[in-house]
Amino acid sequence: MRVTSHIEKIGKLQGLRQRLDPLEDFELWFWAGMTAGTHAVNAALHHAGVTGDDDMFATQPGVYLVAQPDGSMKNEFRPLGDVLHVGRPKVEAPVPDDVAAMMEQMEIIEHYRDPCLREGMAPTASIVKECDIALHSCMELLAARLPGVDLAS
């Protein structure tokens, strides 16, 4: 998906995240942040020329929902465009240091995904702080790569 579309998604998700209580609404707060961060990594990977920015939507690693000439959508095998999560799939091509750093920040967040959302680990203020700092760092790195782009709206 185009960088501008990823930026729009980030703005929406960050806006919602700010309306949620990090502990009371942890699950949605976390998920909105993780999704925003994944959009940020995809935008950075496209901007760096590492992955393609075609308007096609990842359904599973290597498979994308692609618009057809008749307007319908169809799953097709395609070269790497958007990743579903950082690490899914692994980006095999060389990645610039700043984008690699963004991915490392997202791995900090992803580390809590299944334990807190699916396995019953109780969210804590410490987890909230760790995830918040990681997402903030990820967004700062994107902002540095895309100067002049407003990531908050």
């Binding site: 929406k12 998700l13 949605l28 998920w31 999704t35 299944d114």
Partner: protein
């Protein structure tokens, strides 16, 4: 995970969902997926199909054999979650027009899964 823990998490997600507006369709769809998965696990545990330590994460991560086995007991709920999962790529990861309507569909499917789980009590 135990039934009570699944219910508690599903209820928490559904409470947060009420803070989403129409434009927040991405997280409405994701909430339907997350809460729907917990409700599906409630159903499968209550039916005795899966033990507490045998949770479904995503239907597409199940083997075909396991999907078919679970469908014997809970086909409509399983298909409902699969449909929610299919709504995610174009509207959450992607920007296909119609996200608000897709979110309403996802929430309707979530209601169906929840009703099946509560009906199995």
């Amino acid at each position: 995970m135990q039934v009570e823990a699944h219910i508690a998490l599903a209820r928490r997600i559904e409470a947060s969902l009420r803070k989403c507006g129409d434009a927040d369709y991405e997280m409405k769809i994701e909430s339907a997926m997350l809460a729907g998965t917990h409700w599906l696990n409630v159903l499968l545990h209550r039916l005795g199909t899966n033990r507490a330590e045998q949770d479904v994460f995503h239907t597409y991560l199940l083997t075909i054999n396991e999907f078919r086995r679970l469908a014997v007991a809970a086909a409509p709920a399983l298909q409902a979650l699969a449909e929610i999962e299919d709504i995610r790529p174009p509207y959450v990861r992607g920007n296909l027009p119609g996200g608000e309507q897709a979110a309403e569909r996802a929430l309707g499917l979530l209601s169906d899964i929840r009703a099946a789980a509560l009906g199995a009590a």
